[in-house]
């Protein structure tokens, strides 16, 4: 008895010493330090690659910088670039085209992806392969997508003209040949670009919605059906409200991507014919890399940035309201 209490008295100081940790121990075992160290690589990457160029771009919107007139250098011009933009007809045309392209593309992507996701949410034999097939366009490089679709729309060997020709041959004899250059027609070019955008963007929306549908609890749907809801009512009043956060995320990401999408439309039409598919990213490219007017390209970028920032803030606040409502 006495021995053990003496032992306890002896160990107490040692016990205290071990739990008054050194500075180094606290540094290496602190959750705050570990949290910062873990997030540092990602943050530094984004600061270096994204934040710095953005700040530079926003700053250049207030300067005149013409690479073809290098002797003028970089001059501070205040709001002159913004004044130029207000009078620049092509900007308003491109803004109109961009908004049209984004709204129509995102809406139809969502609508079609919702139908397909609902059809493929419940398992049947071979569902994995069918789902896998529906996300294939995501895996095809942009350059291949543009090339194949240009071929599909092409007047000489395009699939669309071939199908019309086949039907025409059945109707009016074997010599019928349909030739129409879809992407060179200013009335159809935008529609063509929208179709390609939907085709290419569909897989991501489909996957997100499918994942969202699969993680919904089954109980609410079952309850609705017991209460006598038909398929449509069950979808509209039970499934859709539960999916709202997922749909919001899909809309945010797709709106941003489509609004900023440069390479696909550039490779498909280059903004033509007669500026029918001129969108803001193409306008930026033409100002910066064809006309070499960095200041003016920056002011267009700044406007795009502000539009997207406002939209994203609006969508995110919607989502936050959702979270509070629960």
């Amino acid at each position: 008895m006495a021995e053990s209490s003496a032992g306890a008295a002896e160990t107490r100081p040692a016990f205290r010493a071990r739990h008054t940790p050194s500075f180094w121990y606290r540094l290496t075992n602190s959750e705050a330090v570990l949290a910062l160290v873990c997030i540092a690589p990602a943050t530094l990457l984004l600061l270096f690659i994204l934040a710095y160029p953005v700040i530079q771009t926003l700053a250049f919107a207030f300067y005149s910088r013409d690479l073809l007139k290098a002797e003028l250098g970089t001059q501070f011009v205040g709001l002159a670039n913004f004044a130029w933009l207000l009078d620049y007809d092509r900007f308003w045309l491109a803004l109109q085209n961009s908004v049209l392209l984004t709204v129509v593309t995102v809406f139809f992507e969502l609508a079609i992806a919702m139908v397909v996701a609902l059809m493929l949410a419940e398992p049947f034999r071979g569902v994995g392969i069918v789902r896998g097939l529906f996300i294939l366009p995501w895996a095809i490089p942009t350059i291949v997508t543009a090339f194949v679709w240009r071929g599909l729309f092409s007047p000489r060997y395009g699939l669309i003209n071939q199908v019309i020709s086949e039907v025409g041959r059945l109707v009016s004899g074997p010599s019928y040949q349909f030739q129409f250059d879809w992407l060179s027609n200013s009335a159809f070019a935008m529609l063509g670009v929208i179709i390609v955008y939907i085709w290419r963007g569909f897989p991501f929306v489909f996957l997100v919605l499918l994942a969202g549908l699969q993680s919904l609890p089954q109980e609410l749907s079952d309850a609705a059906r017991i209460d006598g809801a038909n398929g449509w009512k069950e979808f509209w009043y039970v499934t859709l409200p539960q999916l709202k956060p997922v749909i919001l995320i899909a809309v945010i990401l797709r709106t941003i991507t489509v609004f900023n999408w440069f390479d696909l439309v550039w490779l498909l039409t280059g903004g033509g014919p007669q500026n029918a598919t001129l969108v803001l990213p193409i306008l930026v490219y033409n100002r910066a890399f064809v006309a070499f007017q960095v200041g003016r390209a920056s002011v267009i970028t700044a406007v795009m940035f502000v539009i997207l920032a406002i939209l994203t803030y609006f969508f995110l606040s919607q989502q936050r309201d959702e979270e509070h409502a629960r």
Binding site: I49, V130, L133, I140, P141, V144, R225
Partner: protein, 291 residues
């Protein structure tokens, strides 16, 4: 018993959805079908403008022509290097960041995490020049690591968001058990969390791999030497030369061969997607719910 008694509505829907899905699939796959068909068609049929929806004469001559082009294998090798490196770095960086956001409690981290997805509102056209100038300033022009860092920074916001959400769905008890057993926090992350988060990790990895494999604008601007070009840039150069150039003496620049090249560029990723789609859905499921 109960499950089968109140499903008459579902039952009719099941008969409708298969034909509807079939029609949608035919429309949706016609471009891919057409790409494969043209790649398998003899060149003279394409150039004679005598093409039909279904070609009776299949040939592999277009593929043979692409595979006899020595530059093709160089492009594939370069694309693989870029895509695999991007995948590894992006997943590692995003795992750490996602873990930090999901599990470690520190006010600054919450503050840093919010704007991660906002990175996507930056139009890529405009950052090509500043990023290129920065890399040229430190002597990294025409190098792979500049491209890998750029691609990684494009993949990281989405992957971090996805992995953070996935980590949030895992029970903390397993991690606590590992910590009590004497594991460090990072040890717990890599030995307990990472194996459990496999669907999320696979999804993040696929997303980064596809992004790097398909991207061409930055690779086009950053790489000048011919032997360092990835497949996407090689493809674009080939197509541009075929459409606008006069170098018709090179046998690869034929329509059929270009389609064969397109098929070969798409096939590796197509196969990966077909086999891993179940993982993709599971990986996104967590992210989609948590937002």
């Amino acid at each position: 018993m109960l499950a089968t008694t109140y499903r008459p509505v579902r039952f009719r829907w099941r008969y409708v959805r298969i034909p509807v899905a079939a029609v949608l699939m035919v429309l949706y796959f016609s471009p891919i079908y057409w790409m494969f068909k043209t790649a398998l068609q003899p060149e003279h049929e394409i150039s004679l403008n005598a093409m039909n929806l279904f070609t009776p004469s299949f040939t592999l001559e277009n593929f043979a022509r692409v595979l006899s082009e020595p530059r093709f294998f160089g492009w594939v090798k370069n694309s693989l290097i870029l895509a695999i490196a991007t995948m590894v770095v992006a997943v590692l960086v995003s795992t750490l960041a996602g873990y930090s956001l999901a599990r470690l409690r520190f006010w600054a981290v919450k503050f840093l995490g919010r704007p991660f997805l906002l990175a996507y509102i930056v139009p890529s056209v405009m950052i090509v020049v500043p990023v290129f100038v920065t890399f040229a300033g430190i002597g990294w022009q025409n190098t792979y690591h500049a491209i890998i860092i750029t691609y990684t920074s494009f993949a990281v916001p989405f992957c971090t968001w996805l992995l953070r959400a996935y980590f949030l769905t895992l029970p903390t008890e397993l991690e606590d058990a590992a910590l009590i057993d004497g594991c460090s926090r990072l040890g717990a992350l890599f030995r307990v969390i990472v194996p459990l988060a496999a669907p999320g990790m696979v999804t993040a990895g696929l997303f980064s791999f596809v992004l790097a494999w398909n991207e061409f604008l930055f690779a086009f601007v950053f790489v000048f030497s011919d032997d360092m070009r990835p497949l996407s840039v090689g493809l674009m150069a080939t197509i541009l030369e075929a459409v606008y150039g006069s170098s018709a003496d090179l046998s690869i620049f034929k329509v059929g061969a270009m389609f064969a090249l397109c098929v070969l560029a798409a096939i590796p990723v197509l196969l990966v997607f077909l086999f891993l789609q179940g993982w993709l859905v599971r990986g996104l499921a967590a992210g989609a719910v948590k937002g």
